[in-house]
C-alpha cells in the first residue's frame, strides 16, 4: 500500500481549472518531485494534500486514512508536515521557539496546564526544547537557536522552517520549492540533506524548479501541465518523455 494515494483530484478557482483529475502515489521512503511550468497546478495540488485547499473532486488517502476535506491541523496530526514557498516563520520568536512550535503535536499540555505552570507542562516544554535543538543540530543550525528567526539570512530561514517541519517527526514531508532562492552550494547541501532525511525513514514530496535537484535526488517525478498529469515516472524516463520535453522544457532543449 502506498503511503500517499491521490486519486482523481480536481480543483477549480472560478473559471480556472487549476488541477484536473490528477492521480498519483507516493511510496513509503521515497523522494518524489512535482514539477511543471508556472501555473501548472503544483501548489494547488500541494495545498490539497496538506489540507489548505479542499478538492472539488477526488480522494486523498494517507496511510490508509481519507485526508480530503480534513483541515490542515488534522492533516498535520496524521503525520504530514509542510514548508511554504514564501517562508512562513513566526516573527518575534527565536529560531528555537519557531522549531518548538513544530513539537506542538508531540505534547499535550493545554491552556490551563500552561497557565498554572504545572510540572507536567514544564517537563513537556523542556523536552520539546531539547528535541527542537537536536533537530536544529541535525540541520547544522543549532548555533542560531537564540537568534530571532525572521532576522536570519534567507538560507538560514529556510533551514529553520525545515527544522520546524521535521521537529513534528512527520511520516511525510511536503516541501514547496525548498531550493528557491538558494545559491548553488546551498542547493547541493539541500540535496545531501534530502538524502539524510530519507535515511531517517521520512517520505518526501516536493515541488521544485531546480532541475539538478529534481533529477539528481528524486526517485520519481510527477509532471503537471495546465492542471493535468502528463508524466509520472523515474527521472531518466521523464527526461526522455516527448510530451514533457515539449510542454515543460519547451524548445530550448536543456
Amino acid at each position: 500500500m502506498p503511503l500517499l494515494e491521490v486519486q482523481g483530484v480536481s480543483k477549480r478557482f472560478g473559471g480556472v481549472r487549476a488541477v484536473n483529475n490528477v492521480s498519483f502515489r507516493v511510496e513509503r521512503g521515497m523522494i518524489k518531485a512535482v514539477i511543471g511550468p508556472n501555473g501548472a497546478g503544483k501548489t494547488s495540488l500541494f495545498n490539497m494534500v496538506s489540507g489548505f485547499v479542499r478538492p472539488d473532486a477526488g480522494t486523498i488517502t494517507f496511510a490508509g486514512a481519507a485526508m480530503h476535506g480534513q483541515p490542515p491541523h488534522r492533516v498535520a496530526a496524521r503525520g504530514i508536515s509542510r514548508t511554504f514557498q514564501n517562508i512562513r516563520l513566526f516573527p518575534g520568536m527565536s529560531a528555537l521557539e519557531n522549531v518548538m512550535v513544530g513539537r506542538y503535536l508531540r505534547a499535550r499540555a493545554g491552556f490551563l496546564a500552561g497557565m498554572l505552570g504545572l510540572g507536567r507542562a514544564r517537563r513537556e516544554d523542556r523536552a520539546a526544547g531539547e528535541r527542537a535543538l537536536e533537530v536544529m543540530d541535525f540541520l547544522g543550525i543549532a548555533h542560531l537557536a537564540e537568534a530571532e528567526a525572521t532576522s536570519l539570512a534567507y538560507g538560514q530561514q529556510r533551514a529553520v522552517e525545515l527544522a520546524r517541519a521535521l521537529a513534528s517527526e512527520p511520516e511525510m514531508l511536503l516541501l514547496d520549492e525548498p531550493a528557491a532562492g538558494l545559491n548553488m552550494r546551498e542547493t547541493r547541501d539541500l540535496a545531501a540533506l534530502l538524502g539524510r532525511i530519507r535515511a531517517r525513514g521520512i517520505t518526501v514530496l516536493l515541488v521544485e524548479h531546480d532541475m539538478s535537484l529534481v533529477m539528481g535526488t528524486c526517485d520519481e517525478v510527477l509532471v503537471l501541465s495546465y492542471g493535468e498529469k502528463i508524466a509520472d515516472a523515474d527521472p531518466p524516463t521523464v527526461q526522455k518523455d516527448p510530451q514533457v520535453v515539449k510542454v515543460y522544457l519547451g524548445d530550448e532543449e536543456c
Binding site: V53, P71, P91, G117, T150
Partner: protein, 384 residues
C-alpha cells in the same frame, strides 16, 4: 526556567507596597481607592492584551464583557426574594447558602444570591457569551472582527440601558460587599480601603503570573505563532480556531471578574461601564502598552486609568484617550516599551560575542511586524 520567571511580579508587588507606604506617609491614603479601581480595569486590559497582542484578535466590545460580569453580580446579589421565603425552592436554596440574608438600608433583611454564587454566575455567563459569539465571530478577520465585536458591545450597552430590571440609565445601586475571605470584604467602606487595595493588586499579580506562564507555554507559543503566521501554525497542527476561541473566552472571563469586583467595590454599576468608549479606551491602552507586551499594557493601564479616575483629563477624558491612541499609532506602533530599550539592549548583547555567522542587515525591518495595525489586521494570504 524555574524561579526567576516571576521576579517581575515580585517587583510589581513591592512597588504596590511602596505606593501604599508613600501615600500613607503623605497622608493621602484616599488615593488608594482610585488605584484599586485602576487595578480592576487593568485586569480587563490584561485579558484584552492577551487577545490582541498574542492571539492577534481584536475586540471592540470588551467593555461589554466587563459589564456582563458587573451587572450579573449586581443583579443577582441585590435580588430580594424575602417575600417568597417560604416557597420550596427558595427555602432550599437559602438552606444550602446559595441565597443569603443581608441587612437593608431602611431596616429589615433582604434575601439575595450569595455574592460568591453571583460571581460564579457572572463568570459562567460571560464565558458562555464569549464562547457562543466567538465561534462565528472569530472566523472574521481584521476590520470585520472589529465591527462584529463592536456590535456585541453595542448590544450589551443597549440592553443595560433599556432594561428596567437592570436599572436602565441609573444602573444598579446598593450592591452588597463581596465577602472574599474572613474579615476581608471587597466593598466601599473606607475602613477596608487598604485591604481592598491589596486584594486588587494581589489579583492583578496572580493574573500576571498565570498569563506570563501561559505565554511561555506550549499553548502560548502556539498563540504567538498564530499571530505571526497563521497558516504555518496550522500546518504544525495547531487548531487555530479552537485556540483563538479559548483565548477569547479567557479574556472575557478576566473582564467579567474585573467587572464583578469593581461593582462590589463601588457598590454600584451603570451602563457607562458597557459603553463603546470604554471598549475603545481598553484598546487604546493595549495599543499604547504594546501589542504582545503584558507589562506594557499593565503599566499603561494603571497610569492612564488612575489619571482618568482622578479627573486629570477633566471634560476631555475621551478625547485624551483618542489622542493617546492616535499618537501611539503614529510614533510607537509597537508600544511605549518598544520605543527604546529592546533594540539597544539587543545590540549591546550582540556586539561583544563574535557571531559565528553574521546576521544580515535584515535585522531591523519591522515591515511585516504584525503589531503595526490597530486592528491587528493582516491581509489573509489565502493561497489560491
Amino acid at each position: 526556567m524555574p524561579k526567576p520567571r516571576h521576579l517581575p511580579v515580585a517587583i510589581f508587588l513591592s512597588a504596590a507596597v511602596a505606593a501604599h507606604l508613600v501615600a500613607a506617609q503623605a497622608g493621602k491614603v484616599f488615593l488608594l481607592t482610585q488605584l484599586t479601581m485602576s487595578a480592576y480595569y487593568t485586569l480587563a486590559v490584561l485579558g484584552l492584551s492577551l487577545l490582541m497582542g498574542y492571539a492577534g484578535q481584536i475586540s471592540l466590545g470588551h467593555a461589554g464583557f466587563f459589564a456582563v460580569g458587573g451587572y450579573t453580580s449586581a443583579a443577582l446579589s441585590t435580588l430580594d426574594l424575602s417575600a417568597h421565603r417560604t416557597a420550596g425552592a427558595v427555602a432550599a436554596l437559602a438552606k444550602v447558602g446559595v441565597l443569603t440574608l443581608r441587612p437593608q438600608l431602611f431596616g429589615g433583611e433582604a434575601l439575595g444570591v450569595h455574592p460568591w454564587v453571583a460571581l460564579l454566575c457572572a463568570v459562567a455567563l460571560s464565558a458562555a457569551l464569549a464562547f457562543v459569539l466567538g465561534i462565528p465571530v472569530l472566523r472574521l478577520k481584521g476590520h470585520y472582527l472589529a465591527m462584529a465585536t463592536l456590535g456585541v458591545g453595542t448590544i450589551v450597552f443597549a440592553v443595560a440601558l433599556g432594561t428596567p430590571w437592570l436599572g436602565a440609565a441609573d444602573g444598579i445601586t446598593g450592591v452588597p460587599p463581596f465577602p472574599l475571605v474572613a474579615g476581608v470584604q471587597v466593598g466601599g467602606s473606607s475602613a477596608g480601603r487598604v485591604a481592598n487595595y491589596y486584594v486588587a493588586f494581589g489579583l492583578l499579580a496572580a493574573a500576571m503570573v498565570l498569563l506570563a506562564n501561559l505565554v511561555q507555554s506550549r499553548a502560548g507559543r502556539a498563540l504567538r505563532a498564530i499571530h505571526g503566521a497563521e497558516d504555518a501554525a496550522n500546518a504544525m497542527g495547531v487548531d487555530t480556531a479552537a485556540l483563538k476561541l479559548r483565548t477569547f473566552v479567557l479574556s472575557a472571563v478576566l473582564a467579567a471578574v474585573a467587572g464583578a469586583f469593581l461593582t462590589h467595590l463601588n457598590a454600584a454599576i451603570g451602563p457607562s461601564e458597557a459603553s463603546i468608549m470604554k471598549s475603545v479606551k481598553y484598546v487604546a491602552i493595549v495599543a499604547v502598552g504594546g501589542m504582545g507586551s503584558l507589562w506594557g499594557a499593565l503599566a499603561t493601564s494603571l497610569t492612564l486609568s488612575f489619571l482618568s479616575l482622578r479627573g486629570y483629563f477633566g471634560e476631555l477624558d475621551d478625547a485624551v484617550f483618542g489622542l493617546v491612541l492616535v499618537t501611539a499609532m503614529l510614533f510607537a506602533p509597537r508600544g511605549i516599551l518598544a520605543l527604546r530599550p529592546q533594540a539597544a539592549l539587543a545590540r549591546l548583547r550582540r556586539s561583544p560575542a563574535p557571531e559565528p555567522e553574521p546576521i544580515p542587515p535584515h535585522e531591523e525591518a519591522p515591515g511585516d511586524e504584525p503589531a503595526a495595525g490597530l486592528v491587528g489586521a493582516r491581509p489573509s494570504e489565502e493561497a489560491p
